[in-house]
């Protein structure tokens, strides 16, 4: 069973929180996840380039305590929806983690949003179409609920529908909001039904979705539809190119409007450190993000000193400081990517080596850069 608590709330809305996972029978605490936290984008369960044996190296204050402190991964449904029949055959408990090889202490959030490959495929108020590696797959709300029940991820992020942005027509934006409202209602009914049935196998912790692109009015309609038994608010599609002012307006209004009290809030599509800091101040707790992987794939590493950057006057620039290790200047630099960084990459390798790996198109380059960037990102959140 998973629950979320707010701790240390700062006015007006920024707060720290904590997810707790308890054993259903014994009530014993099995793991926790502090928020604000990133929900790291994965390709079918694993972060791009990383294997589970490297997971312990992604957390700054690694588990020296007896209680395993996890970090969170986000699995887009379209990566695994073709394999549900196989996953079903695995032993009952924690099927999804068994299938992907994710260790028990790592948190798994399952959703329909694939932030590297947004779907604009047709949808109705009962189903949406996912783009998978084998083609297309239609998923109804019932299919989704059953899949969640079967796979038992820690948290479910709800059904978002296709992406809309400021270039979408007015009608399309309104339709997207209508559809998400329907999804929320139908899924809400399913969750309530499962709870009435006595079992807690309704798929653990549920977020309700808010869509509507840049249109505030449509978004607020969606916010209204996210009511109990939903336990969280997922503000989807916030990376469609809106300005920072629009972003602030949308988030503030959405959080003011919601009737759910004391629930975690997730924002999709916000990933860069300056945006993260800005939106945490507005009250957002979770971020579905692939920022560390995106910059690693370009050969870049985050090198800002975290405490200094956050106190900096020009915070936005400071938080964006990166180096591109493809650059020739790093050819002979036998120093770590970020001096004093305790990540796997910086304690074992030099800028010169990574520069060489990038130039010879070796996969290890992106593995090492990812290890650094994710560690650094997690440290920022800490």
């Amino acid at each position: 069973r998973v629950e979320w608590f707010a701790e240390a709330v700062e006015t007006p809305r920024a707060r720290c929180g904590r997810f707790e996972r308890k054993n259903l029978e014994t009530g014993e605490l099995e793991g926790d996840l502090r928020t604000p936290a990133p929900l790291l984008h994965t390709i079918a369960g694993l972060p791009p380039g990383l294997t589970p044996d490297l997971f312990p190296f992604l957390e700054p204050s690694s588990s020296h305590s007896s209680l395993s402190r996890g970090f969170a991964l986000h699995i887009p449904l379209n990566h695994i929806v073709d394999h549900l029949k196989v996953i079903e055959k695995l032993p009952h408990h924690d099927r999804l983690k068994n299938f992907t090889g994710i260790p028990k202490e790592t948190w798994v959030f399952l959703g329909t949003e694939d932030i590297q490959n947004y779907s604009t495929l047709p949808s109705t108020d009962q189903q949406m179409t996912l783009s998978t590696y084998k083609g297309r797959k239609i998923v109804t709300t019932l299919d989704y609920c059953n899949a969640i029940k079967m796979m038992s991820p820690d948290v479910s992020m709800g059904m978002t529908g296709p992406q809309v942005n400021e270039y979408s027509s007015v009608k399309k934006i309104r339709t997207s909001a209508d559809e998400v409202i329907q999804y929320n209602q139908k899924i809400g009914l399913e969750i309530a039904k499962a709870k009435q049935g006595g079992s807690n196998d309704s798929g653990s912790f549920w977020f309700g979705c808010v869509n509507g692109g840049p249109d505030l009015r449509q978004r607020l309609r969606c916010v209204d539809s996210v009511i109990e038994p939903f336990q969280g608010l997922n503000l989807c599609g916030l990376n469609s190119g809106e300005s920072i002012e629009t972003l602030r307006e949308i988030i503030t209004a959405s959080l003011a409007k919601t009737t759910l009290k004391n629930v975690p809030v997730c924002a999709t599509g916000i990933g860069s450190p300056p945006e993260v800091i800005e939106t945490v101040r507005l009250g957002v707790d979770l971020f579905i993000s692939n920022y560390p992987f995106q910059i690693a794939s370009l050969g870049c590493a985050s090198v800002f000193q975290i405490e200094a950057a956050m106190g900096d006057e020009n915070e936005t620039n400071a938080l964006g400081t990166q180096i591109n290790l493809n650059d020739r200047q790093f050819e002979l630099q036998m120093v770590p990517v970020l001096p004093d960084c305790q990540c796997f990459c910086c304690t074992r390798h030099t800028r010169a080596y990574i520069h060489h790996l990038l130039n010879t198109h070796e996969i290890l380059a992106s593995v090492l850069l990812t290890l650094h960037n994710v560690y650094h990102y997690n440290k920022l959140f800490e």
Partner: protein, 299 residues
Amino acid sequence: MYAEMALDNNSGRSTMSATPLGSQLRFEVLYQSKKSRARVGRIITAEGREIMTPTFVPVATCASVKALHPQQVHDCGTHLTFCNTYHLMLHPGSETVAKAGGLHRFMNHKGALITDSGGFQVFSLAYGSVHRELTTNGTLLPETVSSPSSDSGDPDEIGNVIKGRRQFQREGERTSMVTLISEDGVQFVSYRDGRRLKLNAELSIEHQKRLGADIIVPFDELPPFHIEQDQLKESVSRTHRWQLRSLKAHLGDPRHQALYGIVHGGLDHQLRSISSSFVLSHPFDGIALGGSLGKTKDD
């Protein structure tokens, strides 16, 4: 012909100061099979790295086993890892690796390393892929100048060769990046930036010294699979001369590295036998089997 080759060996040997065979490596047989010649062994390199044998040696072409970190490579049970001198020559360059303190430091690799001479890649540049080699009966790619007896080529000729390349590329066949094969060594063009480079026995050893692997190999010539008998003899003879030059360069500055001699001779038993004697009669630290080993298991 064989007598001549033996004489070559003798004349080579007499000018060299011999160090005891195997001084850079310690090898012990832990178990010898009674049913076959198979054995379990242990090699300890001069710097104390242990290699259990028989062992699978993964290739870290450009100082990285694909997608694996050195710790993961070690955790898979790897004792010895192989790096390509040719690729490392082109990037980052052996000087850069030397500045980093050698390959072990550059990669942060704790296990034993072995480098090749660069010969294989360079010669496959001249003959094309193994597939092409087998299907065209070992013809050199266009624009490769192979000179059996003369020394370094005429610069103008090479210039023309490079200009001629463009014309061939339009016709669709890959042109050779090797511009000259001669008694001295090989000249070729870097695939990265078009620079003209040279590789011979002394240069190969120099690069391998800078890279600093535990085990290194001499520069040898790799004849194609389809080759006339007399060409093969000529090739083996040349390879022996190149190996002696490599040995001399190595012994001038051993640096705790072990140099393996390479037995050549294609599928010809007699040549193989002569080549083995050659390797065994010189202070190489180990024996490598090089060149074509045939098409079938029986070969």
